[in-house]
């Protein structure tokens, strides 16, 4: 049997999926998700640039998780050069990162996942029957953009954030206005959680595997600072990431696989919820209780629910930070040293993001970036394989279901910058 689809859509970027299996026994011999085409050589672009220009370039790795790359690279450079920023800078950065995640999650839920869960090809086909729902999605998504815009000057590739601080601070009135806007939207987020839970419960469940990894902080639901923790209990400091994460070169694929001590794992909203759902705010716990949502779960589709719950949690967290902020003009902090090696691990919308830089005399000498989707690739292949072996679906239906499964991970192939084509052999 030979099935061939040219492009998988509703994902960020392009990649290629090849599956070979015996139609009778359902035994899968090859299942490879290849991320390739049009490499952008960001490691090379950044190498040779001055340390303070790194975030400008790193942010441009990706159009949807640009804030995560911007802040992640900033933290790594600061780590390398011994820069300690103020509490205010940390709070503003957290707001930006949360705004970025809120925007990305809502875009995925309403514009990419909803058509799948409701049985449409594209949101463009839903405009007549679900126009209110689409408007709600666009309106909600705007909240994430607004947060990034107020702090960073614009939603995509924000401007004001620097190594060591900010070029310009928002006005207090803008922050007050933001608080009001977020508060007004909270009921719609609760509606969204309810909707995602109902839609997911109607769909059949899909086992994702057993190992997850996320950033972990003693006190709160970690996004920017903390150590790495896996579901099975492995712990390590971001600077030791190379000791625990192994990159495997696969002969059938040009994309590398990242494994944790040789094992496949998942990162992202489901992983975060599975590992530390006990650290969400009281309000979020109440909402979860109201709709009977609990983690951990191995059901991949609960990634949709995890995203919705996270949006609620992050908007609450933004409200807390915004009311706590008392803006003062501060100087941009200068580096303590000119050379050094620095690593950061942060939570991007799709999971843990690593940035590492070696800087000599203010100039970047070495770069290593591991985006979340690279870590999830092996897991996506495993899930696809298991699905094929356990279903009787054939032809178009099979292809469609596999696409849906991969989309549940919300893969971001543009982080490695590429086209996704699906080939079934």
């Amino acid at each position: 049997m030979e099935i061939k689809i040219d492009e998988l859509s509703k994902v960020e970027g392009h990649a290629k999926l090849t599956v070979k299996f015996d139609e009778k026994t359902r035994k899968v011999s090859v299942c490879s998700l290849e991320v390739f085409e049009s490499p952008r050589y960001f490691e090379v672009l950044i190498k040779g640039k001055d340390y303070d220009q790194v975030p400008y370039y790193a942010g441009r790795i990706c159009g949807i998780c640009n804030v995560a790359h911007l802040i992640g690279s900033t933290l790594a450079v600061e780590n390398a050069l011994g820069i300690e920023v103020s509490e205010q800078t940390k709070m503003l950065r957290e707001l930006m990162v949360l705004g970025g995640v809120i925007h990305s999650h809502l875009l995925h839920m309403y514009m990419l996942a909803l058509p799948d869960l409701l049985g449409y090809e594209s949101i463009l086909d839903m405009t007549s029957k679900y126009s209110d729902l689409i408007k709600r999605g666009l309106e909600l998504k705007e909240i994430g953009n607004d947060i990034v815009r107020v702090i960073g000057g614009r939603p995509i590739h924000p401007i004001t954030s620097l190594v060591g601080g900010f070029t310009k601070l928002p006005k207090q009135e803008e922050l007050n206005e933001l608080i009001k806007r977020i508060e007004r939207k909270m009921p719609l987020v609760v509606e969204t959680i309810k909707m995602m839970k109902e839609l997911v419960d109607k769909s059949s469940s899909m086992d994702v595997g057993e190992e997850y990894m996320s950033l972990n902080h003693k006190k709160h639901y970690a996004m920017l600072y903390g150590e790495l923790v896996s579901f099975s209990g492995k712990r390590f400091h971001p600077k030791d990431y190379k000791k625990y994460l192994t990159e495997e070169i696969i002969d059938y694929s040009t994309s590398k696989h990242v494994k944790l001590n040789g094992k496949t794992f998942m990162v992202g909203p489901l992983a975060r919820m599975n590992i530390h759902s006990d650290k969400v705010s009281y309000e979020t716990k109440m909402v979860m209780k109201e709709f009977g949502i609990s983690f951990p779960t191995n059901n991949l589709l609960y990634a949709h629910v995890a995203r919705a719950v996270e949006v609620f949690e992050f908007m609450q967290r933004c409200l807390d930070i915004l009311s706590e902020l008392n803006l003062k003009n501060e100087k941009v902090v200068k580096p303590k040293r000119k050379s050094g090696y620095g690593v950061s691990a942060t939570e991007a919308p799709r999971g843990v993001l690593y940035h590492a830089y070696r800087i000599e005399n203010g100039v970047v000498k070495d770069v290593d970036i591991i985006p979340p989707t690279t870590q999830n690739t092996a897991c996506m292949e495993d899930v696809t394989k298991r699905y094929i072996e356990n279903t009787n679906n054939k032809g178009k239906k099979l292809v469609h279901e596999i696409e849906k499964l991969i989309r549940t991970f919300d893969p971001c192939f543009s982080c490695s910058a590429h086209f996704l084509e699906v080939d079934f052999l």
């Binding site: 949101i123 995509i156 620097l162």
Partner: protein, 254 residues
């Protein structure tokens, strides 16, 4: 009812940010959907085949032979081609790669992707409209679409970012404060969004036709004591260096 124009969005080497920026256009986006029928918008799951398009929006620069071929096919099928964002208009930040020898070998051990020098769209095809910026400017895109639909003339700005920045920053020039800013040589049309946020201009909109680049380089040397090497590094992204080299070498094959 007026017949909707057939539109398509194609993505080449880029961060997909301009596709997302389109979705960020809020009310303007819904108005856009009223006027244009998107037959291809892969990000939101639309992939209808069509023999021709009225408008092809293209984001990203061209970095492989395969991309070049596809681009040429799109040109054949499209009445109007709009280069959307810096990568498509001037090579974006991707173009920096052209100045790094052995880029492929460093990342992938060998040049398995047949990746070549990164180039903007107009190196290969005729482009009808350029909507510059990283990401692009909403206002300019709306003006271009208005020009196409209503048969108007779109006049791209030829002056530099300074012309807009002066009105916004009211004399607080970043250069006079010791910050290296590419505003004087970068094409206007962004309403000085970076400099009015106190961030020096990185030049995302490319070289302004009216720019006096020789005077600018002289200023960098005198005022900031930059070496030739440092100036070169500064002008790597967004096609500045590429255009300068052509200027200096005549009809050099790019």
């Amino acid at each position: 009812m007026v017949k909707k124009l057939k539109a398509a969005i194609f993505t080449f080497t880029s961060c997909f940010g301009c596709s997302f920026e389109l979705l960020n256009m809020k009310n303007e986006l819904l108005k856009l959907f009223d006027k244009l029928e998107f037959l291809r918008f892969n990000l939101i799951g639309r992939n209808k085949y069509s023999k021709s398009y009225d408008i092809a929006f293209i984001e990203g620069s061209i970095s492989t032979k395969k991309e070049q071929k596809k681009l040429e096919e799109i040109r054949e099928k499209a009445k109007f081609v709009i280069a959307l964002g810096s990568c498509a208009c001037n090579g974006g930040v991707n173009i920096v790669k052209n100045y790094r020898k052995n880029a492929e070998k460093e990342v992938y051990e060998e040049n398995i992707f047949e990746s070549r020098n990164v180039k903007p769209l107009d190196e290969f095809i005729r482009v009808d409209y350029f909507v510059n910026g990283c990401p692009f400017s909403h206002q300019e895109l709306l003006e271009v679409i208005d020009a196409i639909i209503n048969n108007k003339i779109f006049q791209p700005k030829t002056s530099s970012v300074c012309s807009e920045c002066k009105l916004k920053l009211k004399g607080e020039c970043l250069l006079t404060k010791g910050k290296i800013c590419l505003g004087p040589i970068t094409r206007a049309g962004c309403n000085a969004i970076c400099t009015s946020n106190k961030m020096p201009c990185y030049g995302c909109r490319g070289l302004a036709p009216d720019a006096n680049i020789n005077a600018y380089i002289k200023m960098l040397k005198l005022r900031f004591k930059l070496t030739d090497e440092e100036i070169k590094k500064l002008l790597e992204p967004y096609g500045f260096l590429e255009r300068l080299e052509v200027k200096n070498n005549g009809n050099k094959d790019r």
